[in-house]
């Protein structure tokens, strides 16, 4: 069926089978492969995108459900050459290793910081609980979000890129 979705600010019209999952629509129809698939059951969060301002798991949403809505993916996060503070935070604080969970993790972190740009460690951990990472143990992801929060508040991020004391 015919759908029309605003994706990263651009209206996209496509004809899809109703069974097409939003994530496959983004990846296969639009070539936006930054949104990843890591599981079948809506648990890993690698497919997280923002629909009408809220994070959703695009592997557990039909493309037809997004008809008429606004979708933001990782490809729409940076402002041209200028990285979003969350992207910058992940780079500065080594918030990624293999990078596969990263786009989803960044989308959740953005949504978290847009609600509260000065979250506690606990609030950050709960704010990204729907995104699983197998590489980082979340330690540096928490620090990446803290870095981004400081940037978004107009403050200088504290701490170093690594913390070994010796």
């Amino acid at each position: 069926m015919e759908i029309s979705i605003s994706v990263n600010g651009t209206d996209r019209r496509s004809n899809v089978e109703p069974r097409t999952l939003l994530v496959h629509y983004l990846r296969e129809n639009l070539g936006l492969t930054g949104t990843h698939v890591g599981c079948d059951t809506g648990y890993c969060g690698a497919c997280t995108v923002i629909v009408d301002g809220r994070t959703v798991k695009s592997c557990t949403m039909l493309a037809v459900q997004a008809d008429g809505r606004a979708v933001q993916t990782i490809e729409g996060v940076a402002n041209g050459e200028e990285l979003h503070p969350v992207q910058e935070g992940f780079w500065e604080r080594h918030g990624l290793q293999c990078g596969f969970c990263t786009p989803g993790m960044i989308m959740s972190s953005i949504a978290l910081l847009e609600k509260n740009d000065n979250p506690s460690e606990d609030e950050i951990r709960h704010g990204i609980e729907g995104n699983l990472c197998r590489c980082t143990g979340y330690h540096n992801i928490v620090r990446s979000v803290q870095y981004a929060g400081a940037k978004m508040r107009g403050e200088e991020p504290q701490g170093a890129s690594q913390e070994v004391t010796s």
Binding site: G34, D40, F100, T136, G137
Partner: protein
């Protein structure tokens, strides 16, 4: 030597700009014109004969191009890329299935949705047999997995594991003698080191494009071993390996599960060859529980015999190790890796028997740590139990039995030579930093209020950085490929005509930051800025021959090769610069993108000018060959031996058994460090996977061999809220088997963590009479252990 010191420094990763913008290229992101998608029909039975397969309905479906069964691929033989012990795997089950999820047929269709529609229409008749799932029953061999073959493939023995090479005196008589003494105690525990599903967040994915015109195939695979895979594909299809290009682009986590040559990699090549179109397959998360390897899966009894003063007189482990139904790349070699570190950091008589046993379950193979976490688990758990039995602090018991720093190099009870170590200093550094005495006081104070706090400790030693090449004698190869046969590393360093640098290496990352780390090595050696260095990897034709990324080996082996290649390029460049500056080569210094004469900073020539000269041989010194590149293969004389100590503070909810990991400290020693930020990141993730084994994860099978935990709903990976920040520190004892002094850090965290957590939880409840709880320490188990101890 250059003065631009980026070695040992924190450098932002070169990998990140693409990945944080969603521009990374993982296999499933790559698109080929006209590509088709595959889906598999998988067995619902763990042991069955296949009496018939009806593909007609599937073939009639619109958009279906082919359905293949064993008959179609029988001519390809068995998957050769497997360790030489055990049963080899056919590409599609040929008349018999040996585990649930084994592929019986492959469908190729226009896209993955239609492929699944068609797979649902393939009707297979099975005659189910008796599945052998329970590991102890399998070891007892009452019912055989493979008709006429013992379920026990082999038993690794601690003192004679390599016939003709390692033959040490049998420690058992001495240990038996110690047991019979009046002044000794014997402490024994049966413990399960449960099966795990590695679960890289990127499922495996493959895409093959067979070009019958060129007689060649390109295969993209989310693989840790592109060269070995290319070799296997060449052998299987009878084509030269220089007609096989395997590309491992971005790989979304490996942890050992992508260290295999899987049937699906061959099958997509086959389908592409037959159909003349590219064919892809991407594993679903559920399939990952069947189609990829699993890890761990040991049941063992650990026993310590020692004096009441803490001197260990004998350590014994007798364990059954689950191999699954088939042997794959390493399978029976995984317990052997554990055996290599059986005595840990200790100078103790060690008797080891590891029985490699097949069951009707998916194959086990390398998962992060691969044998070494299991070995560390049994040893460090039983040492804790021994310390508790004799009423000594577990830290003191460890110190009483460590190898001393002035004894190195040492030959361990299993015949391994360890290069260096200062274990006591490392443990002391950890205990001081964590405030060990205060923690114990805090635990005791909490206990008096009815709260259950526990402090747990573990030491570990790891063997990694494989080679040496001599280990190849234990191994297997295919067409000159294979893994141990080429336990060496490679690196090519080329300065381009414009003065930028391309580094091509034999191993590639699945998150370990090779691009950044290798660029640091080269930037340090050449004084070329990091941003002018590109690191290429993962292409079996364009990268130098490589073994793969596993066993925490890349930096110690391929990193060293690159370091040596860098040195050779620098030497040549110094000669050219000396020629251009009319100075002696030994007086040339490199920094900030140029060369200058020592003591005369004004006499300078840019890398671009040196490179320009190198590629215009008439400008070079008389007789010098043109070009500015070096290719080095490095074969280390030994493996490396990282070590460390970990400490955890946990709280147990006495009513529910829920474990809260409050704090975690680790002091690790991986030798010299190239990028501390990256090393710490490896530790964080490694520790998290160890904690995950201790508290959360378990692959559970029912008696029919069904995997009950195939989805993340039932296989709970820890989320951010389940883990604390990790407090890290390090000691630095450089390795002497490579000039960088590096050891490897990819698996260390995992090897140290699981028993640290279990020791802490048991500490929290030991005063109630609990001696051991098997992992994962889910609330139900902890509560049950408390209940059982009370009653």
């Amino acid at each position: 030597m250059s003065t631009t010191s980026v070695m040992g420094g924190i450098v932002r990763r070169k990998e990140d700009p693409s990945l944080i913008q969603g521009k990374g290229n993982y296999v499933d992101d790559i698109k080929r014109r006209g590509e088709l998608a595959a889906a598999f029909v998988r067995s619902p039975f763990a042991a069955a004969t296949v009496s018939s397969i009806d593909t007609s309905a599937a073939l009639e479906l619109d958009g279906v191009h082919a359905v293949y069964t064993a008959e179609d691929v029988r001519h390809l033989g068995l998957n050769p890329a497997q360790v030489a012990v055990g049963t080899l795997r056919p590409f599609l089950a040929d008349g018999v299935v040996y585990h649930v999820g084994e592929a019986v047929a492959m469908v190729v269709a226009d896209n993955r949705y239609v492929a699944q529609d068609a797979a649902d229409l393939v009707y297979v008749d099975y005659e189910p047999g008796d599945a052998v799932v329970d590991l102890k029953e399998a070891f007892a061999d009452a019912s055989q997995v493979h008709d006429g073959e013992s379920n026990t493939l082999l038993t690794w023995s601690g003192h004679a594991w390599w016939e003709g090479v390692v033959e040490l005196p049998d420690p058992s008589p001495g240990i038996q003698e110690a047991k019979e003494r009046d002044d000794t105690v014997v402490v024994s525990l049966e413990m399960v080191n449960q099966r795990l599903i590695p679960t890289a967040i990127e499922p495996r994915a493959v895409l093959a494009d067979w070009n019958s015109g060129y007689g060649s195939v390109e295969l993209w695979s989310s693989s840790q071993i592109p060269h070995a895979l290319a070799g296997a594909i060449g052998v299987i299809f009878g084509i030269p390996s220089n007609k096989v290009r395997v590309v491992a682009p971005e790989v979304g986590g490996g942890f050992g599960l992508k260290l295999n040559v899987y049937p699906d990699e061959t099958l997509v090549c086959f389908a592409s060859k037959q159909l003349g179109r590219p064919v892809r397959w991407t594993e679903t998360r559920r399939e990952a529980g069947f189609a990829s390897i699993q890890g761990r899966g040991w049941i063992g009894t650990a026993t310590i015999t020692g004096t009441k003063e803490g001197k260990i007189l004998g350590y014994e482990l007798d364990a059954i190790c689950d191999m699954g139904a088939y042997s794959q790349n390493f399978t029976v070699a995984i317990p052997l890796l554990g055996l290599f570190v059986a005595p840990g950091q200790y100078d103790i008589p060690t008797s080891y028997a590891l029985h490699c046993v097949v069951t009707n379950t998916p194959t086990t193979d390398a998962y992060r740590g691969a044998g070494r976490p299991e070995a560390a688990y049994y040893l460090e758990r039983i040492i804790d139990a021994y310390a508790r039995e004799i009423g000594m602090d577990p830290a003191d018991v460890r110190k009483a039995n460590y190898w001393k720093s002035d004894q190195f190099p040492v030959t361990t009870a299993v015949g391994m030579t360890m290069d260096s170590g200062d274990y006591e200093a490392n443990l002391d550094a950890l205990l001081d930093r964590a405030g060990y005495e205060e923690l114990k006081a805090r635990r005791d104070a909490a206990r008096s209020e009815g709260r259950l706090l526990g402090v747990g400790l573990s030491s570990y030693v790891e063997v990694c950085g494989f080679g040496p090449s001599a280990l190849a004698g234990l191994g297997f190869s295919w067409g000159g490929y294979g893994l141990p046969t080429s336990f060496n590393g490679s690196g090519v360093v080329r300065v381009q005509p414009d003065g930028t640098c391309t580094v091509t290496i034999g191993t590639g990352p699945s998150g370990q930051s090779h691009e950044t780390t290798w660029a640091q090595i080269v930037a340090d050696g050449l004084g070329i800025p990091m941003e002018n260095i590109e690191v290429q990897h993962g292409d079996s034709l364009d990268s130098p021959m490589g073994v793969g990324t596993f066993g925490s080996r890349s930096i110690a082996v391929d990193g060293t090769a690159t370091y040596e290649a860098t040195n050779r390029v620098r030497e040549k460049a110094a000669t050219i610069a000396g020629h251009l500056l009319e100075a002696a080569p030994e007086d040339i210094r490199f920094e900030d993108g140029s060369a200058h004469v020592a003591g005369s900073p004004d006499r300078t020539v840019a890398w671009a000018q040196i490179a320009e000269s190198a590629y215009q041989p008439h400008t070079l010194p008389e007789g010098m060959e043109g070009g500015l590149e070096s290719s080095v293969v490095f074969s280390p004389p030994n493996a490396t031996w990282p070590f460390g100590s970990h400490l955890a503070l946990v709280e147990v909810d006495p009513e529910t058994g829920d474990v809260d990991l409050l704090e975690y400290w680790a002091t690790d020693d991986c030798g010299n460090v190239i990028n501390p930020m990256i090393v710490d990141g490896q530790l964080h993730g490694g520790i998290a996977q160890g904690v995950a084994q201790a508290l959360f994860e378990e692959a559970i099978y029912d008696e029919m061999g069904n995997l009950l935990t195939a989805s993340l709903v039932d296989y709970p990976l820890p989320a951010a809220g389940n883990l604390p920040m990790f407090s890290l520190d390090r000691t630095v004892t450089p390795s002497d088997v490579n000039p960088l002094g590096v050891k490897g850090i990819g698996e260390a965290g995992t090897i140290g963590a699981a028993q640290t957590i279990v020791n802490a939880v048991v500490d929290a409840v030991s005063h109630l009479g609990v001696k051991h709880i098997d992992m994962p320490l889910r609330p139900k188990r902890v509560w049950q252990a408390i209940e059982d101890a009370r009653n």
